[in-house]
């Protein structure tokens, strides 16, 4: 359903492929008819409102959850670097950041990740005492220590201001180039996405629309608003919907949908 990066010559085997994936809990449809391919070197951003099923989609992709219907194919022995929204570590567990990181890789990977993300000064801090932004960098360091083929980030921009987001996106772009990995990112910000995103997927229980984001670095208003550096790393995504959702996220049947032609997928409930 999604087209792959155009720069690649032959169609490569996807790292993860979802076909006709449905997910429901006790009869409640959480995700409906999802098709998705994730490739190496490709950045996919999933956006959507609260309750759209973004975290469920991540759980499916990283294998924490099995789909109710449909199939998920992963590359054999796929190495996934996963960065969760947050960790809930019991305060009774005495764990310094260094020990936390050293649990999951060898010494050289550890030193490289520490230097790469500039977290030397956090190493002695107990992990429970890290701030949101610090935790994010530590979790990212942990993710890259696995030398991942696919980097999965659940809401990495949460609670970070636009400048912080831009910095994170810049870093992710560099890491993608260094590791040659695919990146799947989830964001609740419906409009501002990472500039280097190849595909944006707007999710609200089903894929509402998808496409590439628009660069904002040419717009003087954005340059003024975000600053020159930040404007390079973020982009604006323009939605292209042909339907509306009610408050429960279900698609509302509307006359006007007939006038549009660019959305071809079916809505069983409409």
């Amino acid at each position: 359903m999604l087209k792959t990066s155009t720069t690649l010559v032959s169609p490569p085997t996807p790292l993860v492929q979802l076909d006709h994936v449905n997910l429901s809990f006790n009869g409640n449809n959480v995700l409906r008819d999802i098709h998705l391919k994730l490739h190496a070197n490709e950045i996919v951003t999933v956006i959507g409102p609260n309750g759209a099923g973004k975290s469920s989609l991540v759980s499916l992709i990283i294998g924490l959850q099995s789909p109710s219907q449909g199939s998920i194919t992963r590359k054999k022995n796929l190495r996934i670097g996963y960065m969760p929204q947050k960790l809930a570590i019991d305060p009774q567990l005495p764990l310094s950041t260094r020990r936390f990181l050293s649990l999951c890789g060898n010494q050289s990977a550890l030193e490289h990740a520490i230097a790469r993300l500039g977290i030397e000064c956090l190493l002695k801090t107990p992990v429970q005492k890290l701030s949101g932004g610090e935790m994010q960098r530590v979790l990212l360091a942990r993710a890259i220590m696995q030398n991942p083929e696919l980097l999965v980030l659940d809401e990495p921009a949460q609670g970070v201001d636009v400048t912080g987001q831009a910095e994170l996106y810049h870093l992710l772009g560099e890491l993608r180039n260094e590791l040659g990995c695919g990146v799947l990112m989830v964001s609740h910000d419906l409009h501002i996405v990472m500039a280097q995103t190849d595909q944006v997927l707007c999710l609200n229980k089903h894929v509402c629309c998808h496409g590439a984001p628009e660069s904002v670095s040419q717009h003087p208003e954005y340059l003024q608003l975000f600053g020159r550096q930040a404007a390079k790393d973020i982009a604006i995504y323009t939605h292209n919907h042909d339907h509306q959702h009610d408050i429960h996220g279900d698609v509302i049947d509307q006359q006007s949908t007939q006038h549009h032609s660019h959305c071809t997928h079916n809505h069983p409930n409409s």
């Binding site: 990283i62 294998g63 924490l64 996934i80 996963y82 969760p84 960790l87 809930a88 570590i89 019991d90 009774q92 567990l93 005495p94 764990l95 310094s96 020990r99 936390f100 649990l103 999951c104 696995q146 999965v152």
Partner: protein
């Protein structure tokens, strides 16, 4: 020193050393109530063991392992919270134990099971306890990294390929076995304290998971030494004396400034 005291000391030290790392996991995973559940189940084990006239320790061990297996099985149902499951298991097992004991007539000396009968430990008992504790400790050491990663964040560990469900089962079974054997030392009522108190005291003095686990073992051993000494000279019950000594050490750690 009389022989019975030597065997009692050896058994108590072995249990204290094994209870250290396990107690740390109990604290990190918030499994304190699981210890109580096992202890209540142990009473049922006593009754069943007497009824089927098999070795009591074997009966208790089987009973505790079954409880751990039932807990793991019930946890797959998302509607039930862990605390509700444990409450259900704990009190059902206790009730079943009390009913069975009363059906047996008055032949059961409940007091020795409730508070332990450490001083009746013989040479073969001591050897068995040391062997079991060695096996449990070696298992914990071998799987230490995987166990720790599962405790830190189950989802993250799963994505990184750690068999989290297996590690959880391993931990619960290890706790079940140690609790079954620790019953001889401190008795049903105080087993959870033997697991938790040294670990909590150690938390206040240490900076890494490993040092907390080893610290808990050391504090447990000190408590055993003090408790047994008190028991010997003042004829206090051995199990409660050990737990009281551990609580005393915890209170002393409260005076240490947190860093």
């Amino acid at each position: 020193m009389p022989d019975f005291l030597i065997y009692a000391l050896i058994s108590a030290f072995a249990i204290a050393i094994a209870a250290g790392p396990l107690g740390a996991f109990v604290v990190w995973q918030r499994l304190a109530y699981f210890g109580d559940t096992l202890a209540h189940g142990a009473l049922l084990g006593v009754a069943l063991g007497l009824f089927a006239s098999i070795n009591i320790t074997l009966a208790i061990t089987l009973c505790c392992l079954s409880l751990a297996a039932i807990l793991l099985w019930l946890q797959r149902s998302p509607q039930l919270g862990d605390d509700s499951i444990l409450g259900l298991l704990s009190h059902s097992a206790l009730a079943a134990g009390l009913v069975s004991v009363s059906l047996m007539g008055n032949s059961v000396d409940l007091f020795s099971y409730l508070f332990g009968d450490l001083l009746t430990t013989g040479a073969s008992d001591a050897a068995l306890i040391v062997a079991v504790c060695t096996v449990v400790l070696s298992t914990i050491c071998v799987f230490w990294r995987k166990l720790l990663l599962s405790v830190i964040d189950a989802n993250l560990a799963k994505v990184e390929g750690i068999p989290v469900a297996l590690m959880r089962a391993l931990l619960l079974f290890a706790i079940a076995i140690v609790v079954a054997f620790a019953m001889r030392v401190v008795g049903v009522l105080l087993i959870t304290a033997m697991l938790i108190v040294p670990a909590v005291a150690s938390r206040r003095l240490t900076q890494s998971p490993e040092s907390m686990a080893i610290g808990a073992s050391i504090i447990g051993c000190i408590a055993v030494a003090i408790g047994m000494w008190t028991s010997y000279w003042y004829a206090t019950p051995a199990g409660p004396s050990i737990v009281l000594a551990a609580s005393g050490i915890f209170i002393m750690t409260l005076f240490k400034k947190r860093c």
